[in-house]
């Protein structure tokens, strides 16, 4: 009996592991990845492969140099790579995509301590760095299915519905918007694919609908009050992609339900303000980034009261 193990209780745990949760996120992203490849062609697959590879290599090499354990198997680097690719235009030069992945993983994630310690979402930070550095390539949109036409497709530039709306042009139909037949980032256009992923995440209890519902609800409400069309506002830009997959990132969103409500509403308000008043057509990334930074404060201000705290306070005041 010398091999008995002694630890603190509990002696049993739930079967859920970090890896199984992250695998569920990857599964939830599959419809959006398929949609991006169908809509924007084989090059979308290439961009996905490049960002995922850049994130994995960046993670492996950084941790090796910093003498930390290999963490590739937790799949978080894969998710960052996929999310970054889905936030890029399909025509992005591959070296830029790779650079974005390295910035996300090496600087934003590993330099701050790795999984669980980054204070902003790595994929969003990577996208924003690319956006401010290479704004031409980052807003060089391609028409969906352009890869099917015989002419040199990659020279065909298009405008996103948000840009079209700002200039007062002809918008795609609502059905096209829902299926994703519009110009935009690789993974943001197909609302159908994103919803399938989001519902899967909720059913598997990876996320609760609190943040996506608050984020999307507030954005649609405020932009409609500002004169927008609610359904177009809902389905355009990166709103659904951001609300379902980026704003719900565990590490950079509040852990308590009340905090998640505040966080979701905050994201919605900032997105609406940018859409209505700023010179930028889209504000989802910036809103999530700004709210990420506020998370510790939100959690502090919305900290739940321990069971019986109200009663204890009532006794004291007696």
């Amino acid at each position: 009996m010398s091999n008995l193990i002694v630890t603190a209780s509990p002696h049993i745990t739930d079967k859920r592991t970090t890896k199984s949760i992250m695998l569920d996120v990857v599964i939830a992203l599959i419809p959006a990845m398929i949609a991006s490849i169908v809509l924007f062609g084989p090059r979308a697959l290439l961009v996905l492969a490049v960002t995922v590879a850049a994130c994995m290599i960046g993670e492996y090499v950084t941790r090796r140099i910093l003498k930390r354990s290999n963490s590739l198997s937790d799949l978080t680097a894969v998710i960052t790579g996929i999310l970054l690719a889905l936030n890029l235009p399909v025509s992005i030069p591959l070296w830029m995509a790779a650079l974005g992945g390295l910035i996300a993983i090496v600087i934003v994630k590993q330099f701050f301590g790795g999984v669980g310690y980054n204070f902003v979402n790595p994929a969003i930070a990577g996208r924003i760095v690319l956006l401010v550095s290479f704004s031409y390539y980052m807003s060089n949109w391609t028409e969906p299915f352009a890869y099917l036409s015989a002419t040199a497709a990659d020279t065909v530039s298009a405008a996103t519905p948000l840009a079209v709306a700002e200039s007062g042009g002809q918008l795609p139909s609502l059905l096209d918007m829902f299926l994703g037949v519009r110009a935009g980032s690789m993974g943001e256009t197909s609302i159908l694919a994103l919803l399938i992923g989001g519902i899967y995440l909720c059913i598997r209890r990876v996320i609760t609908p609190i943040i996506p519902v608050c984020f999307i609800g507030v954005t649609v409400l405020l932009t409609t009050l500002g004169g927008g069309d609610p359904l177009y506002e809902l389905m355009s830009g990166g709103l659904v992609l951001g609300a379902v997959f980026m704003a719900t990132d565990y590490t950079t969103s509040p852990m308590n339900a009340k905090g998640q409500i505040v966080f979701g509403i905050g994201c919605g308000v900032i997105t609406s303000v940018i859409r209505l008043f700023a010179s930028l057509p889209e504000g989802v990334s910036y809103s999530i980034l700004l709210m990420n930074i506020l998370v510790p404060h939100i959690e502090n201000l919305t900290m739940p009261k321990p069971f019986g705290a109200k009663e204890a306070a009532a006794n004291e005041s007696k």
């Binding site: 008995l4 193990i5 745990t13 301590g113 069971f307």
Partner: protein, 444 residues
């Protein structure tokens, strides 16, 4: 007719633990007197007992062998007849050292001549009977029951809550009490209610034990009309439904204030087996000398419910259950959620133990701790509405102000957070550490 009530409030969070109650149909078997028992003089919170016998002295079953004058304490009785072999210092699972009386059994089980019914008619006589019975609470700490019921200002106390939830996996010991001795349970409840002048009693049992609920209901239905007001509350099976504060909340809707006691919510809480054992003591004078324990786990050959004399080495109890199939990874006294992992099979069974589990490698994972991903599962799981992940971080930074704000002292170490954690962090251990940080800084 007594109806079976639904809980008035739902507890927050908790864990959906596997039940694993394979021993539910195992009728209690009595384990014969072991060759030797070891009785630590500290089986409760409070002052340790002093041995009242000397080495070489003859003792009988039910005889007091250790006692104390302190208020917070409970006497210790011998469960066997025989001779005191030694009095030595041993290390207890909680980390404290205590004197222990080793008694060699003569196998005759001769009872002391002090047995006989006890006279209980009011609060004072009930409290004195509880004191001399040696009963302690089974909540792990072993709080002396006489102290628990000796409420200074009991003007607002009107309700007895009987804990039959048994929310820990594997354990069926309290369930067997309600199935095998339902009359004694109800009689005990009536004695406590009458002596303390309580108007109302709730017996809380989880809904995965319908047999126990029916057995008790049958006894309640047979009582003549106009009896004391006793109701059974069928609780949803969710860990930690049996935690004192959760049970009071579910049955009465009252919340025990932070840092308060059940009496602050007008309640007295007693375990269902304790009520029954108390009744048995009042009827017969036989004190707390034995305990029903569920012996289970994948490594045990023949899991069962066994009535064991207190002080029996846990290894002897396992041998009585057919021994071990394979070497267990963990040997636990108590349940898998809050029980204590043991390293020595000679450790004696204590008053507050209700199970001995020998868990295999598959049953008890010893996984690698990974970084917190801030998923919030611990926050949702905490029945006390705390934020375990934040408490862990604050304790690492020794941030006493933040720890106080986070209400770390409200943690009851139920383990729901650690159970839910996908990164397999030993959060209960971190909570214990956080409490020592908070205490140290406050006092220093």
């Amino acid at each position: 007719m007594n109806s079976i009530l639904r809980p008035v409030r739902k507890i927050r969070g908790g864990a959906k633990v596997p039940h694993m109650k394979d021993t539910a149909d195992c009728k209690t078997v009595f384990m014969p007197s072991p060759p030797e028992i070891t009785l630590p003089m500290q089986q409760h919170i409070g002052a340790p007992c002093r041995p009242t016998v000397k080495v070489g002295e003859e003792v009988k079953v039910g005889q007091v062998v250790g006692d104390s004058d302190a208020f917070v304490s409970a006497p210790i009785h011998s469960g066997v007849s025989g001779k005191v072999k030694a009095i030595k210092s041993i290390l207890l699972p909680g980390g404290q050292r205590a004197d222990a009386i080793v008694i060699e059994s003569d196998g005759l089980d001769t009872y002391a001549d002090t047995m006989g019914p006890r006279d209980v008619h009011d609060k004072a006589s009930l409290l004195s009977a509880i004191r001399t019975s040696g009963l302690v609470g089974i909540g792990g700490a072993g709080f002396p029951l006489s102290v628990k019921l000796a409420i200074k200002d009991d003007s607002g106390v009107d309700t007895l809550v009987v804990n039959g939830a048994e929310c820990e996996p594997y354990i069926t010991s309290d369930f067997r009490e309600s199935v095998e001795f339902p009359g004694r349970v109800i009689a005990g409840v009536e004695m406590v209610m009458a002596s303390l002048g309580l108007k109302k009693a709730y017996i809380g049992i989880e809904d995965n034990k319908p047999q126990g609920i029916q057995a008790l209901k049958k006894v309640l239905d047979k009582r003549p009309a106009g009896g004391l007001d006793i109701d059974i509350v069928e609780l949803p099976a969710r860990y930690p439904q049996g935690a004192e504060k959760m049970l009071i909340y579910a049955t009465t809707g009252r919340r025990v204030p932070v840092g308060g006691l059940p009496s602050d919510a007008g309640c007295v809480v007693m375990n269902i087996s304790s009520v029954s054992v108390l009744c048995y003591y009042i009827w017969t004078g036989i004190p707390m000398i034995s305990k029903r324990v569920t012996v289970s786990g994948g490594a045990v050959n023949d899991p069962k419910n066994v009535m064991v004399r207190i002080g029996t080495p846990i290894g002897d109890v396992i041998d009585f259950c057919g021994g071990l199939k394979e070497e267990p990874t963990k040997l636990i006294t108590g349940g898998p959620m809050m029980g204590v992992a043991q390293y020595d099979r000679n450790m004696p069974l204590l008053k507050q133990n209700n199970a001995i589990l020998a868990l295999t490698k598959e049953e008890t994972q010893i996984p690698q701790e990974q970084p917190c991903i801030r998923c919030g599962r611990c926050v949702h799981a905490c029945p006390m509405s705390l934020m375990p992940a934040q408490i862990e971080r604050a304790s690492r930074n020794e941030d006493v102000v933040q720890l106080a704000k986070l209400g770390v002292m409200s943690c009851m170490e139920c383990g729901s957070c650690a159970y839910a954690c996908p990164s397999k962090r030993p959060l209960v251990q971190y909570m214990k550490y956080a409490k020592t940080v908070a205490r140290k800084k406050v006092s220093g």
